[in-house]
Subunit: 368 residues, 2 copies
């Protein structure tokens, strides 16, 4: 294998080969190089190697050079397991989530990984394919056994409130997509504010009311968006149409769109995410309804593709990178201060991006 060192070092004392492949003659047991090996070659103690390895002061230049040379020659790498054992820390953050398939999740995870890396932390991923109680518990159990110092949970935390889930002590938690701010440190997009902006935008354009395609019931984010939609309509004294249940997929948006196309007084729809908005656009197109002339559509997320829908989608921009950044920040603060009980909710603001899928209703004099 090209990436590897050409060959591993074997101590010179052929007779007293204390590091042969465990004595097995044919054993090709790629022996890992330890500090002791480096120390022996450099003619120093292993503690000195440790000091050099960790950049500690108190090693004179010439010794340091010798050690570094030995390290290079042997291709020494610190053994992170031994390190973790010694320090009691793993420098790893676990991330539990349902799926990477949603834009939001994958971008949040990416941001988490990037920021964690910048702080010297790796991230370990535990996806849960099917959201059964068992799977969730299993994931948490596994995480408990894993080498992580903290866990970021990207899912509705209610699934965990069974009392049976236990993380090992000293493992800190930050939660995304949940309202558990009273018990955990929560970071999330300001779902309610984003939804409010979307609905108000449509009302401001002159629409009498706004229809709504929801996310799945289990999604906290979806619930918040739906609540905010309802609240804005009620505040404004507008009728509140029955929401259509979606599941984030374009397909569910399409189904909702076919239904909404039959509603003669539907002139504005707020979809709980961009994918469902895409489904709406296609359904309306198929039924001969022009967007935005006949119906206005607003989405949520601002996926990179949303600007290229037909027509380009007005939507609520979520700053996933910022969510990821704050998750890491929160988790590191807990690790560093050893304080794991700082509940609270940290909301990342949203931004309404107005494109071409919204307009005043037909026959309206315009905004007002």
């Amino acid at each position: 294998m090209d990436l590897n060192e050409p060959e591993q070092w074997v101590p010179p004392a052929a007779g007293s080969a204390r590091r042969s492949g465990s004595g097995v003659p044919g054993g090709r047991r790629r022996q890992r190089v330890s500090m002791a090996d480096v120390a022996k070659l450099a003619g120093v103690s292993s503690q000195t190697v440790s000091r050099v390895s960790n950049g500690h002061p108190g090693v004179v230049g010439s010794t340091r050079e010798q050690v570094l040379a030995a390290m290079r020659e042997l291709g020494y790498r610190p053994n992170s397991a031994a390190r973790a054992l010694r320090y009691g820390r793993f420098n790893t953050i676990g991330v539990i989530l349902f799926s990477l398939s949603s834009t939001g999740n994958s971008r949040t995870v990416e941001a988490i990984a990037t920021h964690a890396a910048a702080e010297g932390y790796a991230i370990t991923l535990i996806p849960i394919d099917v959201a059964t109680q068992d799977n969730v518990l299993g994931a948490f159990t596994r995480m408990g056994e894993l080498a992580v110092d903290a866990v970021i949970v990207i899912m509705e935390i209610h699934l965990l409130d069974t009392g049976t889930v236990q993380l090992p002590p000293g493992v800190h938690v930050v939660v995304v997509d949940s309202d558990a701010g009273d018990r955990y440190s929560v970071v999330d997009t300001d779902q309610a504010d984003g939804a409010r902006k979307a609905v108000r935008h449509l009302l401001d354009l002159g629409h009498r009311t706004v229809w709504h395609v929801t996310g799945p019931e289990t999604s906290y984010a979806g619930q918040r968006r739906t609540q905010a939609w309802r609240a804005v309509l009620e505040e404004a004294g507008r009728p509140v149409p029955a929401p259509l249940r979606g599941d984030w997929s374009a397909e569910s948006g399409y189904a909702a769109g076919l239904a909404l196309a039959e509603e003669p007084d539907c002139t504005a729809v707020f979809a709980a995410n961009d994918q469902m908005a895409l489904g709406l656009l296609r359904a309306f197109h198929e039924r001969g309804l022009a967007v935005p002339a006949d119906v206005s559509v607003v989405g949520f997320d601002d996926t990179p593709d949303a600007a290229f829908f037909i027509p380009p989608l007005t939507t609520v921009h979520q700053d996933f990178a910022e969510v990821g950044r704050r998750c890491v920040q929160g988790v590191l603060r807990q690790i560093r201060t050893r304080d794991d009980s700082r509940p609270g909710t940290d909301l990342v603001p949203t931004r309404l991006v107005i494109r071409d899928s919204t307009a005043p209703p037909l026959g309206s004099p315009g905004p007002g």
Copy 2:
């Protein structure tokens, strides 16, 4: 923190207050529970605890029960660092990739994580935000220091062929999106075959030739698709239009679409991915070209959204889950057989999904 045990155990020696917060007065040093603690409480040796913990035979029922009870009481969890140190393995697979933002990558990673979990392996993610040589090297160096038994590289491996990258010995590698089958174990979608199917489909419909929007130059997958496109046209004796350079984004597809709209004899386009196809659709729509009546469009990937584009997109389906599965399989085979030099290329087949964005050219009698 709800998830944690109420308090940790401290060996009884002190007085007999075996459940104080910790021996240290002010120190709230969440003491981790070790086998020794469990052993003491259960009145057995730590070796017996180890045997119970690992399900080894040779522990009589009553003893086992006692140990299990002690484990439960103390909330014992095995220390994975110590385990890794003892075994020399971490049960972790590293994944290096550029970005999770692309559908393909995130779905591949998800599949990797799922299958790895099923085999008792966790995955550690190292994303590289900007593809500079330095960043790539840095990621590999970090990976070398990390606790991983193997690495899956999701990127063009040429970036690594500098000779300076070194992974520690015993770390196995599987590569995705590369042609390094002569040096590494490579798993990938059969890019060429997929592209061939796409182009042939368009020719079969009666189009004289097929235009092409490429992926970024640096992408091996993109190169393969472009090569295959060219090869099919040449084999069929058709003219080969100059390909338009894209970067996977819908925006670049849109730009290409605006350019292609000016080409009077462009009746069929093969976009190297679905997002760029989305951009094409919008550009054509904007310029009054009907798809598929005036221009046929084929994409690549079959993202979940592609079926809801306007019109629903004919595209090449990639089985990312299978790619992920085979990556894990390959890596585990290497780990288990201790054989890390089994180069070869494992291609996952594709499937052409015909929807509504392709049709015979205007004025054509139809396929043939």
